[in-house]
């Protein structure tokens, strides 16, 4: 066949040292240029972004934990306040109750005292009235008797008689005072 001849004659399996030289030169130049102009900036950018993302995630986690803690604190504070309010209410109610009872007792006592005073007053007035009534009764009786017996009896006798009568009445009053 002719193919092997063609292959042998063809330059595509030939390794030219000059081209190796150019390849290495080009590669090194490309490497230096790109390292300075592209890889450095891009890689540092990427690294910075990675760092930023990592720190953002870290910060978010931290903030979340903090927020959770704050929320828990808030919740306990609210519960505490509620408990305190309840306590206060309870105490207030007790106090009010106590105060009411005290007030009631006091007013009851006062009423009691007032009642007693009034009774005493009534008793006194009653006794006075009775005495007056007795004196009036003596005078009346004397007048009536005097008129009846038509002054046949003398004054001292009548008087003694009337007094005797009055004395026989159930209550002893201040007849002497009234008589004088």
């Amino acid at each position: 066949m002719l193919l092997p001849n063609v292959l042998a004659a063809s330059s595509f399996v030939e390794v030219r040292p000059g081209l190796i030289f150019w390849t290495i030169v080009t590669f090194v130049i490309v490497l230096i240029v790109l390292r300075k102009a592209a890889w450095g900036p891009i890689l540092s950018l990427v690294e910075e972004r990675e760092k930023q993302i990592a720190s953002s995630i870290e910060a978010a986690k931290r903030e979340r934990a903090e927020a959770e803690k704050l929320l828990a604190d808030q919740k306990t504070a609210i519960a505490e306040a509620r408990r305190e309010a309840q306590e206060m209410l309870r105490r207030n109610q007790q106090e009010v109750e106590k105060f009411r009872e005290e007030l009631m007792a006091k007013s009851r006592k006062e009423a009691e005292e007032f009642k007693a005073t009034a009774q005493r007053e009534i008793e006194e007035q009653k006794a006075k009235a009775v005495a007056e009534v007795k004196a009036m009764a003596v005078d009346l009786a004397m007048e009536v008797a005097g008129k009846l017996i038509n002054e046949r009896m003398d004054e001292p006798k009548h008087r003694a008689l009337a007094e005797q009568f009055v004395q026989s009445l159930p209550a002893k009053g201040a007849t002497e005072r009234r008589a004088s």
């Binding site: 002719l2 063609v6 040292p17 000059g18 390849t23 490309v30 390292r35 592209a38 890889w39 891009i42």
Partner: protein, 342 residues
């Protein structure tokens, strides 16, 4: 390259083209393909639907290592000079088609990175297709290749090298898929140059991690001194097989796809039947899509293996510390070989 053009020619091939059947024509197809995937000292600008070729002659130059070593052996009629080989003390650094493609890829790479990537620190969020795509690839190389293969401490140091290798190869691969362009990575010299870069970086990483003594000690493979005459050549051979594998893998992969596309289209001319185009053109298109994928895969593979080799070198330095600590007491000869390792 000229795939698109060949595709059009294949679709609209005149009967005159197809009827010119002879063994010479068949041989011509193979010659045509090999000519177009091979390097050349001129850049041929073919125009579709015409046999006209515009060839741009690229400048030729050479570096003599001794005076008068670079006298051209002979000069062709078109002015093409043939310099003596390197063994004669002359380094032929003539600009070729693939050199131009490589430079074009380098310029495109630098230009597009400067134009589209986000390098502004005040804009932390990448916007747009360019910035996002570049960043995605850069992060992929950094996290999946460098950090995974080399390690978290030493990895970042080699990221710029790996990034450059990845993007440089990727751009050369992709440029080869553009009509009128050529695949620079389909040239053994260029893949060899890239592999040499990886080789140098790998060895430097080894020396950096293990020290010169540790690096040399590693060449002995940690065996008894009596076995050194066997072990040292094996280890040295091992050093060179890695870049050799890199060279051939990238070269063969990039070349093979192109040759397959060319042959699929060439079938039309070999079988002298226009109906073949109905099969070969879709197939060639399929291979072209595969080539797009391969362009990324090969850039990835080259970079991944480079990272792996660098990682092995770096690890070699770290391993040697431990190995030395436990093995040093047992073998005197071994221990002497590690003066810097401890």
């Amino acid at each position: 390259m000229r795939k698109a053009m060949v595709l059009f020619v294949g679709l609209l091939a005149s009967t005159a083209f197809a009827s010119g059947a002879s063994t010479g024509e068949k041989e011509d197809v193979a010659g045509y393909i090999l000519h177009h995937v091979a390097d050349a000292s001129e850049y041929e600008l073919e125009s579709p639907f015409s046999a006209e070729h515009k060839a741009i002659h690229l400048p030729q130059m050479a570096i003599p290592f001794k005076a008068g070593a670079c006298e051209p052996a002979h000069v062709a009629e078109d002015g093409h000079k043939v310099f003596p080989p390197l063994s004669a003390g002359c380094l032929d650094i003539s600009i070729t088609k693939h050199t131009v493609m490589m430079w074009l890829a380098a310029l495109l790479l630098i230009g597009s990175l400067l134009a589209f990537s986000n390098r502004d620190k005040s804009k932390m969020v990448p916007r747009g297709v360019g910035a996002n795509m570049f960043e995605m690839l850069i992060l992929f190389v950094r996290d999946e290749l460098a950090i995974k293969n080399i390690g978290k401490e030493e990895g970042p140091r080699y990221v710029p090298y790996l990034l450059t290798a990845f993007f440089f190869i990727l751009f050369m691969n992709l440029l080869g898929l553009v009509p009128w362009m050529a695949t620079a990575t389909g040239n053994l010299a260029i893949t060899a140059g890239l592999a040499i870069c990886t080789f140098v970086v790998t060895q430097a990483a080894g020396i950096r991690a293990a020290g010169v003594g540790g690096y040399l000690a590693h060449l002995t493979g940690g065996v008894h001194w009596a076995l050194w005459p066997i072990m040292v050549p094996v280890e040295i051979l091992g050093l060179f097989t890695k870049p050799f594998a890199l060279t051939v893998r990238l070269f063969a992969n990039m070349l093979a796809g192109h040759i397959v596309i060319f042959f699929l289209l060439g079938l039309i001319f070999i079988l002298e039947n226009l109906a073949v185009a109905a099969v070969s053109v879709p197939f060639a298109l399929g291979i072209y899509m595969l080539e797009l994928f391969v362009a990324f895969v090969q850039a990835y593979v080259f970079t991944m293996l480079s990272a792996l080799f660098i990682g092995m070198s770096v690890a070699m330095g770290h391993h040697h510390h431990d190995e030395h600590a436990e093995g040093g007491a047992g073998h005197d000869g071994h221990g002497k070989a590690h003066p810097v390792g401890s």
